[in-house]
Symmetry: C2
Subunit: 399 residues, 2 copies
């Protein structure tokens, strides 16, 4: 597997993209993006498990069951969530107005939205922008698309890789957005993936679900699950290469997992107000689910996140967060490491250099490893710190 | 029921208290407190459900089973949690050194600690301070005791009431502390209650559990459940009045609920960095448990708390938080009010005056009411906003 520098959703053959400003965002920044596959593609997608689902999510679930797609259209600045039947109509209309000039069916267009909840889409603005959006489609438009889907994100998150399958070389590209309201339950805010390989619908769905489950679903910025989480992938077969053998599938899935994981970590590193990427690993639990529950409680604790922000090795907050996860363990078997520094073992504090621990925690990448016993259960969750900037961003977001 | 101005744990007859600085806190602020009942008292106590329990909690659970008590000794600045068998020994020794000059048994002394986790108690400091602590016991020492148990709290939380039972007048007093790591699972960080009524052990326990369940267990400041949560109550019968009839029990329990609720709300209003007391009420759920899950998700969402801080009527954050609580409801039946302002109903945004909503949210007391259907399930949770000050306090607490 080889990472492609500057790679994006248009790196795989047969994909065009564009991204423009249509006026949904008051800032005038790009807010409308389009990805087109030149030929019919297999579609796989996973969505939020929040009971309150945005209109484009409800619509996308219908499309994903069919599994055929030609285009993704995504807007930022308005989530089209909590908008009732009117919101569904707006999502359908968006697909319809972009499908016409492309000469494709509205049911071949997956729509996605991100931004403020409880606001209706301004269809007039989208309608006016369509000629410009379609007219600027280009095989190097992946970067512009990645920018058009951002909200409070400070950097776009594009990535692409090249892999060798039995039938030849294929490319996989992707981009994602998300900086707040990030605690995905099925996929993350928005992630779009493309490949010029040919992949069967059921296999593509299976691989995307697995890759999303181990990447997007294992990050948390603020523990708040969005109404709009969507990860969607088109496989258009433009390379002439199919995923056929079991070995092909393994290679493809590995690459997909790498892409999703790269985007997920980038999302956390550049999360709202974040200054650090933190890996929380829990091992020795009675089950993977138990380990995940503990890792999530640690990752979502405001106290732990503040300690991380202040480079404060206040490890009692970590151990106590694991203690209220509802998973059983014996405190006297617990071992906690911050980086390679052992701070707690056998139920009692371990002597350690406070200065060294602070120095380590001042870095941009922090690893925390909690071992709770001899069980086989383990899990890794990525999170970030909680800063005053997070509060600023979210106390002033809509007003 | 009558609230007693300036009331505290020494308001009921037969209780003495003191509070001094013994040097556990580097700041030199009071950090050691003692409450003594002049006669043997019935003890009831409830503790944290965190799996990682502090040494004084483990010890207190043993004492509560016996149900007899003469004194509470509490220190702030050190939680004596994650300290293993040495921590248990320290808790036992603390009880022992204070019991001797008081001429009571060590098993009649409930110890409690709050402060940093993973730090051993400095017994030499406590030992040196005991003569001063015992020597300053006084029938008006309740206020000093309340101050000695504070950590990041900005105000002490004392309260007392007078009630009429069939046999005569009795008094109930209490004080609590807690500003961070507050999401009690059984009681809150530390709450001490006294009464000069005579109450049977089983009845006292039952009433305390109910009162704590509807007050301390219904608040959250940061969703992080402490290792040290303890609410303990002594009933010494010094008034000569017993809780005998069913009617007595109802009056007593009402007063106890009022005391606990007053302290709990004060804890939230003066939570770390808090500027507002927010009541989240969920009604119409399928069960009380479902309603509570939703109310808690809303109360613990960093995004909701930031919006509250910024007086931003960004109601989508509230509805979406309810959506990931795991409880079933139909979004089209949801109705959301901020104060008396209807912002969302029948699955679509309700037109409302943004200016009016902001003005209401700038107040110190905010009420949020979410109705999710026609079920009978309901719950109220009290929480506060999330401010930059919370981050400051918790990014710099131990270093």
């Amino acid at each position: 597997m080889k990472t492609i520098k500057g790679g994006s959703v248009t790196t795989p053959a047969g994909f065009l993209a564009s991204g423009i400003a249509c006026g949904i965002k008051e800032s005038g920044l790009p807010d409308l993006g389009l990805v087109l596959s030149e030929r019919p593609a297999t579609l796989a997608a996973v969505f939020t498990t929040n009971l309150v689902k945005a209109a484009p999510v409800l619509r996308g679930m219908r499309l994903a069951r069919r599994g055929v797609c030609r285009a993704f259209i995504a807007n930022s600045g308005c989530a089209n969530a909590c908008t009732g039947p009117g919101g569904l109509r707006d999502a359908d209309l968006t697909a319809d107005i972009v499908a016409r000039p492309l000469g494709i069916g509205a049911e071949e267009v997956l729509t996605a939205s991100t931004g403020k909840i409880g606001m209706h889409l301004d269809l007039a603005k989208i309608r006016r922008a369509i000629p410009r959006l379609v007219g600027s489609l280009s095989p190097d438009g992946g970067g512009r698309f990645a920018k058009a889907i951002l909200t409070t994100d400070t950097v776009p998150k594009s990535v692409a890789v090249k892999i060798e399958l039995s039938g030849g070389t294929i490319l996989i590209g992707g981009c994602a957005k998300g900086a707040g309201m990030i605690s995905p339950g099925m996929a993350t805010l928005l992630a779009f993936l493309t490949t010029d390989a040919s992949v069967k619908k059921s296999l593509l769905k299976h691989m995307l679900k697995d890759a999303a489950g181990n990447s997007f679903n294992r990050i948390t910025i603020d523990g708040h699950m969005s109404t709009n989480d969507t990860a969607a992938m088109m496989a258009n077969g433009a390379s002439g290469v199919s995923v056929v053998s079991k070995r092909d599938a393994v290679i493809f899935e590995e690459a997909l997992a790498f892409l999703c994981s790269t985007m997920a970590k980038k999302m956390v590193r550049y999360g709202e107000g974040a200054t650090k990427l933190v890996e929380i690993e829990v091992t020795g639990a009675r089950s993977d689910a138990n380990a995940e529950d503990m890792a999530r409680r640690i990752a979502d604790s405001a106290l732990v996140k503040c300690a991380l922000h202040g480079a404060d090795p206040n490890w009692g907050r970590i151990v106590s967060a694991a203690g209220y996860a509802g998973a059983k363990f014996k405190p006297e078997n617990v071992k906690l490491k911050i980086g390679t520094i052992l701070v707690f073992r056998n139920g009692v504090p371990a002597p350690f250099s406070h200065t060294k621990a602070v120095k380590y925690m001042r870095g941009d990448d922090i690893a925390i490893h909690l071992s709770v016993g001899k069980g086989k259960g383990k899990a890794i969750i990525h999170t970030c710190d909680l800063s005053k900037e997070y509060v600023s961003i979210n106390a002033e977001y809509t007003t």
